[in-house]
Symmetry: D3
């Protein structure tokens, strides 16, 4: 089975981090093809970033798909970034790391929390939960201000701060599961799970498993209405 892992950001470094997570999620025999979006921002952190990168994401996918002939696509952005558009344009299963990790989190506890990077990004993330229909299971959206540099150089301090935040998530928001809603935090999930005593999800790894599941079962998004092919030929939009 071959999965295309699409980084909606234009940064190869971020693609590298995403691929590490993706590989941890992949089963033996699953081939992963990394795809970095050509154009757009290096770091989607706003509705503005979402929309401007979204068009590049879609174009990049439509070019890469016929080339790599994947069995499924994982869209590795914790946001909309064109997910519905891709589900319309393609017939292979398209899996959003945000949507898939929320669906899985529902099964693991009473309520979940998504942990993002910026205070001002919280309303966007709350809209996302609502759009995907998981608000009944979402305890909260939280944001921490972490220096991305320090994430890499000072692992101990980062862990300490993250697990302190997760303790607040558990105690104050009464949440039971945490989703790391940004690429910068990939790779901290296992240690955080252990430190905080609750499941901490790396959404990329989870989404790879979900995509493998759909491909294995021969399932993909329903094309009957919402994700039907766009009414005009794709070229008319590009």
């Amino acid at each position: 089975m071959k999965l295309m892992i699409v980084n909606p950001n234009s940064s190869e470094t971020v693609t590298g981090a995403i691929m590490e997570s993706a590989r941890r999620g992949a089963s033996v025999g699953t081939e992963l093809v990394p795809v970095t979006t050509k154009g757009g921002t290096r770091n989607i952190d706003s509705a503005f970033g979402d929309y401007l990168s979204g068009a590049y994401v879609i174009r990049t996918c439509l070019e890469a798909a016929p080339l790599h002939q994947p069995d499924g696509v994982v869209l590795a952005g914790f946001g909309r970034v064109g997910i519905d558009a891709l589900k319309e344009a393609l017939t292979i299963p398209i899996v959003s790391i945000a949507e898939a990790s929320m669906a899985m989190a529902c099964l693991l506890g009473h309520r979940f929390t998504t942990l993002t990077m910026l205070q001002q990004f919280i309303p966007y993330q709350q809209d996302l939960v609502r759009l995907f229909g998981f608000e009944a299971k979402c305890a909260s959206v939280r944001a921490i201000n972490i220096n991305v540099e320090e994430c890499v150089t000072n692992r101990e301090k980062t862990l300490a701060e993250l697990s302190a935040e997760i303790r607040k998530i558990v105690a104050e928001d009464r949440s039971e599961v945490v989703i790391l809603a940004c690429a910068g935090l990939c790779g901290y999930d296992t240690e955080l799970s252990r430190l905080a005593g609750v499941p901490v999800l790396d959404p990329v790894a989870v989404a790879v498993k979900v995509a493998e599941g759909f491909v294995g079962l021969g399932l993909a998004q329903s094309k009957i209405r919402k994700f039907a092919d766009p009414p005009q030929s794709l070229d008319a939009y590009l």
Copy 2:
């Protein structure tokens, strides 16, 4: 007061229709500047069209705004098409015809219906209602298959079909207000109101009034969090 009326489609014909509605909504002394999106599709009818046009819409607006120095912007697409991104990027009031007409419809009856063009576009429109937070007041989203040509050439037949549909909306969905959720139907609102006996809203005209109101009151979208300036300089995203 000067309002920029932005057509998210790339069709000048559609801009013409939008401007007719906009002028009916405008007060004496309001100057309207039509802006047609450069690039993207001529007719946004899907999430695919939304996302691909969205990036062009944003770019077009960011170029046109410094040029025309408007007091407010009406985004004349019945969809997302980058509305949140524009609210982030600019500080003058940005008014979506979809969001504004739903807000006004709330005040006019028990529940409202949005009437769109394609069956497959209904889920997208339902998500829109949900995203804007008006689902408690929305009776239904309906779609009719109208030949756009015939809208222009055969007004009587079009009116008969539309008012028949609205009668179903009132009787079956128990709706009390109708929003014409596509540019092709602009200009039918007054006659339909009369024929069907319920308020039928032209969202462009309504949005112009709402934008005038915000400008007149010195109000614009809150920049405290959701619509704060994007964290990076705008150039980093373009």
Copy 3:
């Protein structure tokens, strides 16, 4: 265009404050007719006050409307105070300052807060949000204990207290827009907006704009069902 501005309280002083706000909301060419309710309480601060004043409000309006022949009515009470009854009894647009300001607030930020005067009035105000269908967009209802006298005599202290409260609304309730839900606070909106850095709405001014919009567009409440004429002749109820 002529709008009747109805104060549901029986106090002429309150009418004066309301009219100041109304005039700030009115466009050139809009004539405003102040109407003070004859009978009822001077200050509606409870369901009890709402219901007992409501009957007087309705009677006062029904007497004043044929006299002044307005194009629309603004009901300047932040509550129910007979709003639905008036929408049934009349065919010109009837605009509640509570309902209209909430609808407009929806467009300005992620969530809004209404700020009222008494702790014990909060549940009533929460029911109001629910009744109008805006709970998905309402972050909170808050109350402050402000001495009405001091509002007039000690403007600096009042501003300081109000902006402190709004900072809590923004930080703790994560709200982005504030509606001043009582007449006593009219006239503080502009300075509060500036001090607190979020849009602060004077609901009277906003409702005047909404009423102007409806009149300008030829729209009024749907008479098809909820706001149909009462089944009996109006005299049978009075």
Copy 4:
């Protein structure tokens, strides 16, 4: 124990029908005091009727309560008609037939339906369900056009029509319990239950039982906030 049964309509005939239901609901040893509202309409069938009668209902209750010294009050109108105002003004338990019968219906089946008299009254009744917080348990609000005269003179025909409607309620709305939401239908509940095979509630009888329960348990509405005494002396409102 003594209960005051308050008819919010001004018709003694309606009071007679209400008292028949009330007596069927009353336990041995419960004294029922009928009170007919002085003034207002003979038949509350709209928000207009609700508000105009509400003020009379409140005044009538406030006069009658010190006279009769009841242990509790049943407000026998299927609407708001001042219920919250009375809960504020008095400390003995105030029971709305609408609210109480919906609460009891929740316990008897998956979802309930309220059956009212006029199509145009349905939105008002839907708001009522929402205001009381029972929408998760409400399958539908339905209305039938029954000639009130015929209700009295042609019992067989009335029963046939009502049970036909209830069959539709069960089959189409998938409801399991029916509340007869108007005084005119009082006394049909037992036969309808038998004919239709689902519990059919006479809300007056149910509310008497609920009021007896509260009095017996020494319970009444919480006075801590929502139903606290109005801030001003009651005379200030009258």
Copy 5:
């Protein structure tokens, strides 16, 4: 009238406490038959306890019902513990103390709180509120850690702690009514009501009143669909 009061726990001591509450709720002339579940746990404090005791509860009831021929059953466990199964299996009214006390609490204030014993039991209790459809009226579920021994031996200390907690419920959760959601707290309701100034409900006493009401009115759970007899003969399940 004869009511069977079923303790889902296997402890006779708990049955004793339940019966004290039940007697306080019972009217003159109501005969109460205590039934202690044979088998299962002495104290249901988890979903595990619920499910394992549930089967014993059902068997115990099915054996006791033909023996005692009650007119109604009160299931005295603040949980599911087989309530829907019993409603299916029997045609006499089955009243859950949890469901009935929540329904009554809805009528007494803006929102209610259920107060349970263990932090880890809160999510179960939140699911219960949701399952019964009362979430719109529920302010919070709270838990206190009370030593059950001390409840009996040190009444003053227990009262002090409970009323302190209820003050927090009122102030922080803005709740107006409290339900004592565990058998250990039975008998504290009256003093707590007085101390805390809000209605505090003993759910057993309330449920007895509700059951008396249903029996008195000839009502029981609808057998049309949800609570229809199980499709197979009962023996096939036992």
Copy 6:
């Protein structure tokens, strides 16, 4: 990896059907251990069957788990049947076929439908959707009356009837994904998907994939609160 597939019914024939589905869902290298519940009913079709079988399901699992030492458990009943109790009692991932298939269906279309066997079982299934928190994504619960015998002997007729029903689900309920919510329909999913043109899920196969995912990622239900070990030793409940 070893998964225990638990049939909550006591019928070995049903276990056989479940295992066929499970094997279709299993990846190479996944060992499946079938476990048939000892005791309880052969066919869970009601809340009564759920509760009485639930206790046996739990006991059976607790006995089988130490014996087989599985890495995860799939509970193959489309209902509650003790799922939360098992999540409390064990630390390996416990996956409900109902909960898991609904979570996956969320990702595949605008809204999903669960298709069950009996009209009277619909309310139970609706409660299940609500309990799991997926009501925002659930278009409807439908039931068909299929003769279980005929499912086996007359495949063509069964397919014709099922695909006719699914066409109604798509057209009338506007659903886009169907979950076959009963064991008798296992094995029809692939052909139905093809015939009806929408994804049709076999919940057993889907749940196996989800369980594999959790095991592969080292995830299991959060033990922090809702699914914490029961407060007493397990023996105290059995």
